[in-house]
Structure formats: C-alpha cells, structure tokens
C-alpha cells in the first residue's frame, strides 16, 4: 500500500469515527439534558430504559422512526421536506475543522486528530454556522402556518443581530493569535494562563452569549418559544423530521461548545500534559480526553443556563444585540489593537 492510499484510508477512517462520535454525543446530550433538567427540578427523569435510563436515546430514536411521516395539506412539500436536512447538515459539517487532540504518531505515520486544517479554519466555522438558520426559515415558510412563520422571522432577525457580534468577538482573538488556523490557535494556548480566555475575557463573554443565540438555546430560544408560538418553526413537524431538527440543534450545540473550547479554553491542552509527550499514543489519548471533558463541561453550562434563566422578550433581545454586544465587541477590537500596538 503506498502513501497516498494510506492517507486516503486514514482520512476516511477519521471522518467516519468523528462523525460517529458526534452522533453518539448528540444522542447522549439529549439524555444528559433530560436528566440534568430533572435533577434541577427535583425530579428523577428518564430512568426506565436500560440501566440508569442509558438506553433512552435509543428508545427516542425508535419512536421517531416509527411515527407517521406526515406532510400538512397546505405546506410547500419541497421546502417542508428540505428544511430538516438544511437544519441538520451544516451542524455536522462544522466538526470538519475542529482539532480534537495532538498529532497521533504511529510508527512513521503522523495522524493529525482533525479532519482538515484549512487556512481559513475559523472563518469556515463562522460561515457554515450561519447556514443553520436557513433550515428554520425554510421550515417557517414551507409549513404555511402563522406560528411557524413567526418563528422563522424571529430566527432570521436574531441571526442577523448576533452573528455580527460573534464575528467581531472572534476578530479580537484572531488579531492576538495572528492566524485563523485552528490547530495553530490551539497550539499557542500553552499552559493554563496561555488560554485565550485570559487574554480575551470580553471577547469570550460576547462569544458565549452569541453562541447561546446562534444555537437557539434558552434564554435565546425565541424561534420556538412554546408558550407564545406553540412550537415555533417546528409546529407542523413530526416523526423523524422533528427528530432531525432536534438532532441538528444538539449537534450545533456540541460543535459550538467544541469551538469555544478550541478558541478560548486551550483546546486539548492542559497543564502537565506535556509530561506524556514522549509516549505519543498516550499523549494523543490524554489530549482527546481533556478535550472531551472540557466540551462536556461547556455543554453542562448550556444545560444549566437553560433551566435557570427565563427567556428574553423580543425587544430585550434586539436591544442586547445591537446596543450592548455590538459596541462591546467593537471596543474589544479597539483595546486589543491598542495592546498589540504597545
């Protein structure tokens, strides 16, 4: 087997493993959400399927699969069918540029634990992440239902307002790092105080808030505010199509958390990890574990916030986006530029 074939095989294997892990993580994030929610509300939560309820995601999946696949009479059939796919695919595409660990060295073969490391890594993430909203808009329009369309409208307005701040918050980090290569950005965050969260605290804060908005999580879940809009954009959806929407949201949540870890919280780096550097396989495994633990912690914070803070009102949302976050993001860029200049 020559080198090209080997590289191709390794790449295909990496894609399969990472996609599989992401899907598994999606399933168990839904489970974690339900269990943590129950814990915070002094309930027990799903604990019947399998030991500690661990088979619950499987049961949910089967239930989605065996429900009737239904298209409402007045819906636009094409857009209605397309919307869940458009909501789900970009969320999965995002894992393509995330660095999960240090290079894995087996013999003479160096395997970077990242599917691709293009010279526009962070930009790719911002660009593709902005695409998930089209699924919501398409669902809103295609369902031909006033609640759905209100949800779609809110999603588009929120997207425009918060994406600007998110991009500008990351600009400060890019200026500090001097690159948009994901692996280089992670590599620069050596040692606990090398993490970019200490150099870009304001940028991190803005990034966290806008990520909540981008993933439509409470307190920014206005597109599907069930108390006002029935179910928002997915009112008319059922069976696996609804399942795809939810999987898309959780996949986006996971990839956004991983991006947050990679950009601001040191990625797979952790103080003391360098001690393992002379046994590459152990080093890579430890890096992967650190990354997974950090991502899980961020997801836990997302769940924690969801069951703690009530939803914003629409006008509060707009005011926060345009009058607070945007000026703060610009200020962050200015201050960062001044610090670099001095």
């Amino acid at each position: 087997m020559n080198q090209t074939t080997l590289t191709l095989l390794i790449d295909a294997g990496k894609i399969a493993v990472i996609l599989g892990c992401t899907m598994g993580a999606v399933a168990y994030t839904t489970f974690a959400e339900r269990r943590f929610a129950a814990f915070m509300q002094n309930r027990i939560g799903p604990n019947r399927a399998g030991p500690w309820g661990l088979l619950q995601p499987l049961a949910d999946g089967f239930k989605f699969m065996f429900k009737e696949d239904f298209v409402p009479e007045f819906a636009d059939r094409f857009l209605y069918r397309l919307a869940p796919i458009v909501a789900f695919v970009p969320a999965l595409l995002l894992v393509g540029v995330l660095p999960f660990g240090p290079d894995l060295v087996i013999g003479s073969q160096v395997i970077p634990l990242q599917i691709a490391d293009p010279n526009f890594g962070v930009l790719y993430f911002l660009a593709i992440a902005s695409f998930g909203v089209y699924g919501v808009i398409m669902a809103g329009w295609g369902s031909n239902n006033k609640y759905s369309i209100a949800g779609g409208l809110r999603a588009s307005a929120m997207m425009i307002s918060y994406e600007v701040s998110m991009g500008l918050a990351v600009v400060g980090l890019i200026m500090m790092a001097g690159t948009v290569h994901m692996s280089t950005i992670v590599g620069q965050q050596d040692g606990f105080f090398g993490w970019f969260i200490w150099k870009q605290p304001l940028g991190f804060l803005i990034f966290v808030v806008t990520t909540f908005a981008e993933t439509h999580r409470v307190p920014f879940d206005l597109p599907e505010a069930e108390q006002e809009l029935v179910g928002g954009y997915n009112t008319e959806y059922g069976s696996m199509q609804l399942g795809l929407f939810q999987m898309g949201e959780y996949a986006h949540l996971i990839t956004a958390s991983a991006l947050m870890v990679a950009l601001y919280l040191g990625g797979w780096q952790f103080p003391g990890l360098n001690l393992l550097e002379n046994s590459p396989i152990l080093y890579a495994l430890a890096g992967l574990t650190v990354m997974a633990v950090k991502v899980f912690f961020i997801i836990f914070v997302f769940i924690w916030v969801r069951w703690t803070i009530p939803r914003f009102r629409y006008d509060q949302l707009m005011r926060l986006g345009w009058k607070v976050l945007l000026p703060l993001a610009l200020l962050n860029i200015l201050v960062t530029a001044l610090v670099i200049l001095i």
Binding site: L79, P118, N119, F120, L123, Y124, L126, A127, I128, S130, F131, V133, Y134, I137, M138, G140, W141, I149, G152, L153, S156, A157, M159, I160, E163, V164, G167, V180
Partner: protein, 192 residues
C-alpha cells in the same frame, strides 16, 4: 477532476440563477439565489481565493440573504405583488437584459484568446489568503476601501432618511411658536 468540479458548479449556478428569475414565488427565488452564491463560493475556492470564498458564504449567503428573506416575510410579497403584468415594463426589462447579455458574450468572445493564457499564470503560494488580501487592502487599495465604506454609510443614512416618517407638524398655539419662546416660558413661570 478540477475541470469537472468547475463545470458542475457552473451548471448549478446557472440553473439556480435561472430559477431565481423564473420562479413566481419571491421566497423561492431568494432560496435559489442562496444556491447561486454557494456555487460561486466553491468556484472562488477553485481560483484559490479562499478568503473571498468564505466571505462570500458568510456575508452574502449567510447574512444578506437572511435579510432578504426577512424583508420578504415582513412585506409578505405575494405572487402577484412581485411581478408586473404591464407589457411595456416587460419589454423594457427584456431589452435591457438582452443588451447586457450581448455585451457579456461579446466581451468573452473578444477577450477569449487572452483568457486562455490565464491558467499558465503563476500565483504566490499564499495568494488569496487572509494576510496578503488584508495587506493589499490596507496599503495599495486603502483609499478605495475607505471610500467604499463611506459609500455604504451614505446608503445606510439615505435608507433611514427615506423610510423615516415625516417630522410631525407643529400644532402649537401662536404664542408658543419658535421665536416667542421666552415669553411663553415666562408666562408658564407666572402660572406656577
């Protein structure tokens, strides 16, 4: 492989572009336009303009089109509202379109021989990456870049001016008209 990708993307872009203008429903036209922009982004990527490609997706496909759809939703433009049935308007639009098409095709035909030299051109290794593009923007093309931003600012202010409701007409009694403000204030002062 690359040539095949070019033709696939070009075909997608042209088909979706046709759907933009042929669709009776403006929302579906907007969705088709998103497909056009995605195909264009991949074509830019092939030209090793990676930064431009990402910005194309982020700004045009990501933000501008969301705004388009938002406005379409709010205005609720129906199938009838978006298309004028006046014959003369259609005739004028068709004429302008045909003229522009002729100019484009003529340009391609006349420059065709020169274009064929392009694939042989050498580009720097980091051509189209963020750094060289940024350096060019802030050195060689600084003035046009800043002028463009002023143009955008003017457009924003213009849009706000044209959509703003007129200032409410003053319906004040004559003694409160501007110019007699001093007397008015003294009067209210006495009342208090």
């Amino acid at each position: 492989m690359e040539t095949a990708l070019f033709f696939i993307m070009a075909a997608i872009a042209i088909t979706a572009g046709g759907m933009v203008i042929l669709n009776k429903n403006p929302v579906k036209s907007a969705f088709s336009l998103i497909v056009v922009m995605l195909a264009l982004a991949i074509l830019y990527m092939q030209l090793s303009a990676t930064f431009l490609s990402m910005i194309q997706i982020m700004v045009y496909a990501g933000a501008v089109m969301v705004l388009f759809l938002f406005v379409l939703f709010i205005l609720n433009v129906g199938v009838e509202g978006a298309f004028s049935s006046r014959m003369y308007k259609r005739a004028v639009a068709g004429l302008v379109g045909a003229l522009m098409g002729v100019v484009l095709i003529a340009a391609v035909l006349m420059r065709g021989s020169r274009m064929q030299q392009l694939p042989g051109m050498d580009v720097a290794g980091d051509f189209g990456h963020i750094k060289p593009v940024g350096e060019l923007l802030f050195t060689k093309y600084l003035l046009p870049f800043e002028l463009l931003s002023i143009l955008l600012l003017v457009a924003i202010i213009g849009a706000m001016l044209t959509t703003r409701p007129k200032w409410p007409k003053l319906k004040l009694p004559p003694e409160l008209w501007p110019g007699t403000a001093d007397e008015a204030s003294t009067e209210t002062g006495e009342e208090n």
